[in-house]
């Protein structure tokens, strides 16, 4: 189990690096698809079938949107420029990332151990969820009953994004 998980994560990181470094935008998007579908498998390994279903359909839709946008415009990333500014900013970024990585490494080992349960809020969900809400799927019970208010916010976010996309894609913003 652990080994599969680690392998999947390595695959995802490799996919991410390729997605960011590749010169062709279409292959960058496809490599991003590797990360997304890898994430789907990670969810399956982690006993989260709900998330796997949602992630696989959302990933497909994201790819459709991105590929549609690329086919409509251009596939080439413009040429990399080798000036002093670029090199300095790259060096600064790398230093920043190394600092952040060491910070993450130091703090993540103080987190509770992986695989042991650390329940406080969700103890009740697991023990009484079915009885109190009548839904066998506890994730559904959480998002639509215990934390339904969050889901209203989530639906609103999607609605806002639709409104925003309609606003942004208007061909003329101002009259006359």
């Amino acid at each position: 189990m652990f080994v599969i998980l680690v392998l999947l994560m390595i695959l995802m990181i490799a996919g991410a690096v390729v997605a960011i470094q590749s010169k062709d935008l279409l292959s960058a998007v496809i490599s991003m698809g590797i990360v997304g579908f890898g994430l789907t498998l990670v969810f399956l390994v982690l006993q989260a079938p709900d998330l796997a279903i949602v992630q696989i359909v959302v990933e497909t839709l994201t790819l459709i949107i991105l590929i549609a946008a690329i086919l409509k415009t251009t596939m080439k990333e413009s040429k990399a420029e080798k000036s002093a500014v670029v090199i300095y900013s790259a060096a600064a970024t790398v230093i920043l990332l190394i600092i952040l990585l060491s910070v993450f490494g130091n703090t993540f080992k103080d987190l509770p151990d992986w695989g042991c349960e650390n329940l406080r809020m969700s103890k009740y969900y697991i023990e009484q969820g079915l009885e109190k809400t009548g839904a066998e799927n506890l994730v559904d019970a959480v998002i639509l009953d215990f934390r339904a208010y969050d889901t209203l916010g989530e639906a609103t976010v999607l609605f806002t994004a639709v409104m925003g996309i309609l606003a942004v894609l208007r061909s003329k913003g101002r009259k006359k």
Partner: protein, 501 residues
Amino acid sequence: MNSSSVAQYLLPVLVALPLGGALLIQLLKKISKLTSDIIANSILLVLVVLVFSLLNSPMLVYKVGGWMPVKGVPIGIYLVLDGLSLLLLIIINTIGLISLIFSISYMKKFTNKPLYYTLFLLMIAGMNGVVISGDLFNIYVFLEVAAIASYSLVAFGTEADELEAAFKYQVMGTVASAFILLGIVIIYSTTGTLNLADIGRVLKDKATEAPIILTGILFLVGFGLKGAMMPFHAWLPDAHPSAPAPISAMLSGVLIKAIGIYALVRIMFNVIGVTPIFSNMMLCISAISMTAGVFLAFAQWDFKRLLAYHSISQMGYVMLGISLYTPLGILGGLFHMLNHSVFKSLLFLNSGAVVYGTGSRQLKRLGGLNQKMPVTGGTCLVASMSIAGLPPFNGFWSKLIIIMACIQSDHFFLAALAVLVSIMTLVSFLKVQRYAFFGSLKQGLTDIKEVPFAMCFSMILLAFLCTIMGALLFPGLKEIFIDPAVNTLVNGREYISLVLK
């Protein structure tokens, strides 16, 4: 049913009403052209009445879905209303109403007005949701509602530079959200709960452990990006000028406070607890924001861009007051937050009126507008004096309190800096007045007219508020409006026991 339990039921209405209004506009927009104007304005009016009826109410805790705590552990989402939330609610809804009245005429120049109103109401719903929420993840969700609405409103004109500014703003905003979400994940993995008060209880004496310190820094960076504090301010000078004027007023006057400073202060002061290192870090950031903002504003000739840089500088004052962590400092900071929302919205509305009348916002192309646009000129003069801190306008009193608080806690350097920045602000606004409103009328500006009634009305209302808001410091009014908010922060983690009792 006594009065406090009736007031309790108003809490979810503050979110549900603007949301329902936004949906109604989309469903009913075909009926008539006026539907969207009527629905949006009446909903904001009702919200303002609701918020003012909540004044003087005790601390309210509302459990969504009726999920009562089990063995003392909250299991549902809590909505919490205390003094600080109420202050923010007053700012959001009042400024929102005034900006909407301004929009009735101003947005006639844009296409698809119902869409604008829908996004505006969604932004209000998001901010109200953030402010009354007592749950960490819920804050994140509603913060995203407000943020996504604001990204698309910045690009509402769909000109090239507006789209650029919106893209930049959204990239920065999404990175900020990612930092905030990472913080939330770390908090959840250490505490196992998401309720703010419950998190505070679990973390009672863990504030110095490595993951919690990292969380504090992640929240500082995340909310700092949303609130445009100085090292993270890069999006603001592009985004705020690009938006339509009423939206600039909302962004500068309300949004950066509600989803930036409020959320940071609520989590750090009331839940995690402020360590000395953290408050010194905040003092540093605020001093840098204050000074650098005003210096950068100095070089600007674009009216709205200049105002945007002044926003960074004035938010520095707010942060300075709050992070001194003395009762007087917090009073000054919160009062300045209230005042800033009034005078900065007024200034952005003025700039909108100038653009509406003349079609330009470059100071060098303007001049002598006082002869043709007396209302805009007069209200802008009031707002300029207010932001520069001249008595008797509201900005003077709050800056005075902040400077006194600096001296009281032996930060003489910061006090001197605050005075210096105030003088620089005055000089900068003298420039605005000199180039735009006084002097002789430029050629090509001879046939401009004063803006329509709705725009004049909202500007006069805000100017009136600027003039009288110093009175909020009088005993009697101070206890109602400002003291509950100050007490929320001064008492710090007493919040936890108040919510959980």
